[in-house]
Symmetry: C2
Subunit: 429 residues, 2 copies
């Protein structure tokens, strides 16, 4: 952990920078993958599964038998945990639905907006070291609440052609329309352009490696919406002496274990506290199965000592962390000062893991400073908000002159005429 | 107008296609402009204003004197129209604010989300044939309601170095922090990266030509958020025999006058009606000042005859129009069938112009079929929704086991430990 006492304002801009990654050299290869998938569809997906996932699949779509077997293979404890998390995520996201208000902005001029589900969405769940069924919940539950008609899941198969049973069980709970054994850029291409087995979708969600990241950027340029720009996961903890160094160390490690490029930042007003956290980090790290990832991430981590909570909040706002933990005595007083953050965890008993899995908030959040302008995934991410208006003849008499004057001032006479021609009719009657 | 009677389902996919534009060849030149602005800041902006706008500016920022003069130069009628539109837009967008609900997803586990303004936003208003002060209202009013701290406006100067007085008057009403005389890709670069006069912003809004479009794509790849992907404006009208052919023609023309690439589509269940609209189009077109634009756009327009309203709605959903006008007798019955559209205008007295200027709804809307996944600009576009959670020791006892089980199943032991270490402490007391 890089330790700095009272960094100067000049240093701040440097300290909040994330490591930049240039992925442009991947684009050509990924565009070639896109071409394969667009031209040959399922055949290309099967070929690429052999090449990249090392498995000769018999078919791309997961069968009902596989799902039934997956369900039978999970422990009751895990199934209950998944159901509990599902329930909490559902409760929290259901409250995000916007009620419809009809608003009469002027007499006879009524406007409203209505949330309508995006019809077809695609979810990508990576394979690799951790089977992220929690991410599937975080994306699938709001998709279900929104009412998305088609829910496609792509996830890479293991070498034996299977998908992790917890992912299949969760997919089945969510009523995912199709589970496709496809990973990487080819999965993104399949969902963007469609193949024989994979319907083309309008928006693609989910995390992934750098190939998936670039593939999502490329399809988004081509008009398919995506959830969020990607970046390594991160946590910033603000702790005062009321915090528990062991808890803080555990939180930092839970971020660090994601991968060597995870961003971990601790702000505190006590150098003694910082030292105690460092001692705890060392002790807890030693027994972690993913020690290798975590210790690499800690190597790039920051421990900063400031004079005041206010300064720490300023720094945090400039950093705009994905996860912000406030382990300070008077966290209520800090709430109004939080301007840029993805999700905020308050007090000593609200670990980031709670939001990662089960408290109800979403864990798909803006990284890399994007929290300055982006929100995390929510029910909003799965709907369009369509506006409507109805104007009566009297309403048009009320508002018509305003429109005519403005349209004329912008030099758009046909816009003006669409009102004038109607007013003439209304006034004639 | 290209006329087709009962197009087959096979034809639909072709008919809903928008003309594709490949702007990639512009990227190199725009990246060079970015480099100039990043390296030389204001000096580059002044130089590029000379090169592209044909004016040697004395300074980039609009002065208070210019604003005062602008206000004095406008007619009372126009100022009142702008104020009326401002008021209606404000009323409608104020209702989009989300109330904060604290939700206890389990006993002791409380979650909520809060809308927080994006601190710094940039608005781009193009120059050219129409001074779009209406767009400035559509972007500035929700920015103000959200509480954005810094509101920067870039707009290209005319050859005499001035900005249209209606734009300056509107900017002043909105309390825009800075009005910068800069246009094109250089304006987007200035707002994304900052110069001596232009603060770097977190999100950039507004329409523009192809250089602006590509520049916005490029900065969005670099992490600056943008409002919407761009495309030519479009209207789709569904009309039955209860509609007025003159009104429908006027609506089609108000779209067509935007530019030669505007998309204009009419669906009707009566060929006779279609012919009457075409006759009206010819008559009204002849007297339009922007006849040239409009007649080019009409050249590419579609007039389709279907058997039923249901089929027309299906086609419209596949097309996903930016603006949808329902000039049909029983429009209420159609409302639930509308799945993909930006903004919808109901009945014979709700012209698109109303929403373009003054009814209260936003006119910055998804074009090019993006309405399948994107919403128009709203108050949401100017805030981040940050989630918060507070868990009590008892709450952690309730939810802890669920988190531990899920984290272990994902192989993330440090995530599990962040809970276990706290539970040990809670259970010890």
């Amino acid at each position: 952990m890089r330790k700095i006492i009272n960094p100067s304002q000049e240093q701040w801009a440097e300290l909040v920078k994330r490591p930049a990654k240039n992925l442009e050299e991947l684009e050509a290869g990924i565009l070639e993958t896109f071409k394969q998938v667009r031209e040959r569809g399922d055949a290309a997906l099967l070929e690429l599964a052999k090449k990249y996932d090392g498995v000769q699949l018999e078919q791309l779509l997961v069968t009902q038998e596989e799902i039934t077997a997956a369900e039978a293979s999970l422990t009751v404890e895990l199934k209950e945990a998944i159901l509990q998390a599902y329930s909490n995520i559902q409760v929290f996201h259901t409250h995000q639905a916007e009620p419809m208000h009809q608003i009469e902005t002027m007499p006879g001029v009524t406007c409203w907006r209505k949330s309508v589900a995006i019809e077809k969405v695609g979810l990508y769940i990576p394979g690799g070291t951790a089977p992220l069924f929690s991410t599937l919940l975080m994306l699938g539950v709001p998709a279900r609440i929104a009412g998305c008609r088609e829910l496609v899941l792509c996830t890479p198969p293991s070498k034996d052609g299977t998908v992790h049973p917890a992912i299949l069980y969760t997919a089945s709970l969510l009523g995912v329309t199709r589970v496709v054994k496809a990973g990487g850029a080819q999965a993104i291409a399949a969902m963007a352009y469609g193949t024989q087995s994979v319907p083309a979708v309008y928006k693609i969600f989910g995390p992934g490696n750098q190939y998936v990241t670039v593939a999502k950027q490329l399809v988004s340029k081509a008009g398919v919406a995506i959830d969020l720009p990607a970046g390594p996961s991160e946590v910033l903890v603000i702790a005062d002496e009321s915090a528990n160094p062991a808890f803080v160390a555990a939180d930092l490690l839970s971020q660090a274990e994601h991968g060597p490029d995870s961003q971990v930042v601790l702000l505190t007003n006590s150098e003694v506290f910082l030292d105690r956290v460092e001692a705890e980090l060392e002790a807890q790290l030693a027994v972690l199965p993913r020690e290798d990832f975590a210790s690499k991430a800690l190597g790039n981590s920051l421990g900063l000592v400031f004079d005041s909570i206010a300064e720490m909040l300023d720094f945090s706002n400039l950093y705009a962390p994905e996860h912000l933990i406030l382990s300070i005595l008077n966290f209520e007083e800090a709430l109004d000062s939080i301007v840029n953050a993805g999700s905020v965890f308050l007090g000593n008993y609200s670990p980031e893991s709670a939001g990662d899995y089960a408290s109800g908030t979403n864990h798909t959040l803006p990284t890399n400073g994007y929290a300055r302008a982006y929100s995390g995934v929510s029910l909003d991410s799965f709907v369009k908000k369509i506006t409507f208006q109805h104007i009566t003849p009297e309403g048009l008499q009320n508002i018509g002159g305003t429109i005519e004057t403005m349209a004329a001032a912008e030099g758009l006479e046909a816009h003006k005429n669409a009102v004038s021609i109607r007013l003439k009719e209304v006034n004639r009657v």
